[in-house]
């Protein structure tokens, strides 16, 4: 089933959320990544980071209902969805206790041929995260494939 290619340009509003140590703990625990720079204030505070920072793929923890909105707009049948590629650009560290703003926008949609799955749909989302001072923190593009069957 092809996706709704007219989802191109669809975006969620900026949403304000608090970054918590609990979110970072959950990500690190799931990856079994016990780097103290993400988890231990005492050790992280003595590093050049001067405090705990979020792990490199933390932007993936801001999917929640907004991703659902985007997937709904693109009329994606979830079991047919496959992750393609993610490119993350870092501007400033994200820290527990920060209040950040984030949004998701569909920036590309289309059809293409895959060696493995034949013809399929694809779409790319741009995820932006900024702080209260309107400074960019992290931005990522994520490419998804949606198999026809």
């Amino acid at each position: 089933m092809a996706i709704n290619l007219n989802a191109l340009g669809a975006e969620t509003p900026w949403t304000r959320v608090a970054v918590t140590q609990r979110q970072i703990d959950a990500l690190c625990s799931s990856l079994e990544d016990y780097n103290p720079l993400f988890l231990d204030e005492g050790i992280a505070g003595q590093s050049a980071n001067a405090g705990i920072v979020a792990p490199p793929t933390f932007i993936n923890c801001f999917r929640d209902f907004k991703t659902t909105l985007v997937l709904s707009e693109a009329e994606v049948d979830l079991p047919l969805l496959l992750h393609g590629e993610q490119i993350i650009n870092y501007y400033k560290p994200v820290r527990p206790g920060d209040t950040v703003w984030h949004k998701i926008k569909v920036i590309d949609t289309g059809r293409k041929k895959s060696k493995t799955y034949g013809e399929l749909s694809y779409f790319t989302v741009l995820i932006k995260m900024k702080n209260d001072r309107d400074e960019r923190l992290v931005e990522a593009t994520q490419l998804f494939f949606v198999r026809d069957k």
Binding site: C28, P36, S47, P56, N60, C61, F62, T67
Partner: protein, 179 residues
């Protein structure tokens, strides 16, 4: 360390703290990193779904993944493999920042698959004020098949040159003039 108890981490899981991260002049093209991870478990996939909010049934519902998704059963989020590669990079970089990190999911990862992450410096250069190194990164499963491939760019400082240190080369060569 409190976090070991807080996260119920296995004994010996803690990473030994470093005093500082690597310096630009100590890293050459060809420098390599590696991280071997234990087999991916269904519990790990479920925990990642909870951490990321990505409850796509392809990852957590065996029946839907097999019968509707047609993928032969559940498989790990592509972002788990990318997270492992990120772990390898951050373990080595310590407090040096990443500027860019990309990962392409090439092959799905099943519960029970063991990933080995690797990275190799393919370029180092200076851009404005920043000293940059670029890594080519991969994750491969226990059969040696590439599951993820990507790139990462990190910013590494050069050790400062202290005023008053002995010069490595004379800045002025005295030539004798033969008249």
């Amino acid at each position: 360390m409190d976090y070991i108890q807080r996260l119920s981490a296995p004994p010996g899981a803690a990473l030994t703290p470093k005093q500082e991260g690597p310096y630009f002049e100590d890293v050459q093209v060809g420098f390599a990193l590696e991280l071997k991870k234990p087999p991916v478990t269904r519990l790990q996939i479920a925990k990642f779904a909870g951490a990321s909010g990505d409850f796509n049934p392809s990852h957590v519902d065996e029946d839907i993944a097999r019968d509707i998704g047609g993928m032969g059963g559940v498989f790990a989020h592509g972002m788990i493999g990318m997270g492992f590669i990120g772990q390898m990079l951050a373990d080595w970089l310590w407090d040096r920042p990443l500027r860019m990190f990309s990962s392409k999911a090439v092959l799905i990862v099943r519960p029970g698959d063991s990933l080995t992450c690797s990275g190799k410096v393919v370029r180092k250069w200076v851009e404005d004020e920043d000293n940059l190194v670029e890594f080519e990164v991969f994750a491969r499963n226990q059969r040696g098949e590439t599951t993820h491939s990507g790139r990462a760019v990190a910013v590494l400082p050069h050790r400062p040159i202290a005023v008053g240190d002995a010069l490595k080369q004379p800045y002025l060569v005295q030539h004798r003039v033969i008249g």
